[in-house]
Amino acid sequence: MADDPRQATRLTYRDHLVRLLGRDHRVVCVDTDTGLFNGVDFGAAAARYVNVGIAEHHAMGVAAGLAAGGFVPFVNTFATFAAMRAVEAVKIDIAYNALPVRIAATHSGLSAGHFGPTHHALEDLAVMRCLPNMTVVVPADAAGTEALLGQSIDLPGPLYLRLGRKPTPPLPPGAPPPRLGLVQSLRTGADVLLAACGPHPVHAALGAAELLAADGVDAGVLNVHTVKPLDVAGLRAHAAGRALVIAVEEHWRSGGLGGAVAEALTETDPVRVLRIGVDDTFATVVGDHADLVRHYGITPAAIAGRVRSALSIGPPTTEEESHHGHRLSRM
């Protein structure tokens, strides 16, 4: 569909990086045989595309060595391989040295779909945000990917860029441009605050806000694309006086955005925080990205139901139940 506005953030990243390689001689692409660059003509930058093979730990070390030598390497791998298999090299070789390595982590969250739990990454935000010096960014759409990549090119330290696999829609028109390190307000609301990151969670949060409006609940929505460093001041300002803050993410409920939001607010502005994400389980169901996201309750109806329950304002107004353990209808 030529006019399909949906795009996978990994492809936005790929196209951005190919252009960047052409104009910035510091940039090196360290690939781990992902296939993301198959068929790309790098032209004069061909020497700076290095496919090290299926060797993620090695790739992180090579990138650190390159960065120590003055380059800005982008390591391409799947999110779970970056955050799990190669994480010691990420910690010691990259984060410890505060080197400007960019880790482009595709197939994040549940976006690997039917590939299953070996390829799902539901721990990566927790892992990456606990590493000193690491910046953690989760673009919500193609425009955000493009903008945040552009803003991060001169970051002196490392960046973890969490990317999806399948096409996802753009944010609604009129959203303010994302600014690295700051929350992006997509909707203001006086009653509750939904803080989300990533394509599906942000869209689900926006949809939930619409449903809640019909119930008289005025919900604001933040796109927290920069999970680390968290924009605590921005978060506090938007959470002030709200009855409830709801974090929504495509991640296990431990240690990701929900953890970050709860940690930040409990220190200064105690408020009830709901953490909506994937429960403490490995996926046993089979389906594509959208199926899995729906199964785990990252949908407008499921989120709205959780909010209504938390506010004790009556049963859901749709036929869907609020918890993922129940049958959910297709969107």
């Binding site: 060797a55 090695h58 090579v62 650190a64 060595g65 390159l66 120590a68 030598g69 010691i92």
Partner: protein, 288 residues
């Protein structure tokens, strides 16, 4: 007297450096926290050869972009590295006395805060990937600098070493030189009993590397081999240095328990006497 130390022959010009580095090592390992003694002593000639006979580095300009890069992948040999850096002029030797103590910058695994330390190491199996990146950076920058990675033999049990061995060969990085401190021992015993490495040279060859083996305490042999790398076009080089853990101290040489020690004052005195005898019985020059 007989010692179990293999091939301990010191080149005239460099022998004095090696002797002083050994002296520093035993002194640091007699500090309150102790240190990795055995694997530091086995490294002395390797590091002496590199820093005084091979590396193009300048302690007055440690950030020179054209410098050679040395990474001590067996980071627990930091005692030897710091001692060598002090001997080479990167550090005031007086600083070594504070090794591992509050307020010192000398951690028991190399840290970048110490002049001359390129990247921190300590978790085994990281250095070869870092060296690959450093050599690649030099190639992409059009610089002639080389990357040298010093590994332990026990370290070669880490799978990541072989991931990087394959990767460096694939990139045809002939400016990358690895040195294996083949002292044959790890904490619990002989490498060949714990998880055999042999046929080690053959293994490296099969991974696409040019391989040489030298007596690892023979300064002339080390310098000569390292200076002549790369030995084969388009291949990284690995020098397997046949060494003795604890070399220079007959009462611990060749033992696994020399791995870590906090020497008492009495042991330090004994160690210093032993080193003096050793230096006297191995006068500089030749390969006798």
């Amino acid at each position: 007297m007989s010692t179990p130390v293999k091939h301990l022959t010191w080149s005239a010009g460099l022998a004095g450096h090696a002797a002083r580095i050994r002296e520093h090592i035993v002194t640091m390992c007699a500090g309150p926290e102790g240190g990795h003694l055995g694997g530091s002593l086995s490294l002395v000639e390797v590091l002496t050869a590199l820093y005084f006979g091979v590396l193009r580095v300048d302690p007055a300009d440690p950030a020179d972009p054209d410098r050679d890069i040395l990474l001590l992948s067996k980071g627990h040999g930091a005692v030897a590295l710091y001692a060598t850096l002090a001997e080479r002029g990167y550090l005031d030797p007086a600083e070594l006395a504070g090794f591992g103590t509050w307020g010192s910058r000398l951690m028991a695994h190399p840290v970048r805060a110490v002049p001359g330390v390129e990247l921190p190491t300590g978790s085994l199996g990281h250095g070869l990937a870092l060296g690959t990146g450093a050599a690649l950076a030099a190639r992409l920058s059009g610089r002639a600098s080389r990357a040298y990675v010093v590994m332990g033999d026990g370290e070669l049990q880490e799978g990541s070493v072989w991931e990087s061995a394959m990767g460096a060969a694939a990139l045809r990085l002939d400016s990358l030189v690895a040195v294996v401190d083949r002292n044959g021992l790890q904490i619990t015993g002989r490498t060949e009993d714990v998880c055999p490495l042999e046929p080690l040279a053959q293994r490296w060859r099969s991974f696409g590397w040019a391989v040489r083996e030298v007596p690892g305490h023979d300064l002339d042999a080390l310098v000569s081999a390292l200076r002549s790398a790369p030995w084969e076009p388009d291949r990284p080089s690995v020098l397997i240095a046949d060494t003795t853990k604890g070399a220079g101290l007959p009462f611990i040489a060749g033992t696994a328990h020399s791995h870590f020690a906090a020497l008492t004052a009495r042991q330090l005195a004994r160690a210093r006497s032993a080193l003096a005898v050793h230096a006297a019985t191995h006068p500089g020059g030749g390969r006798g």
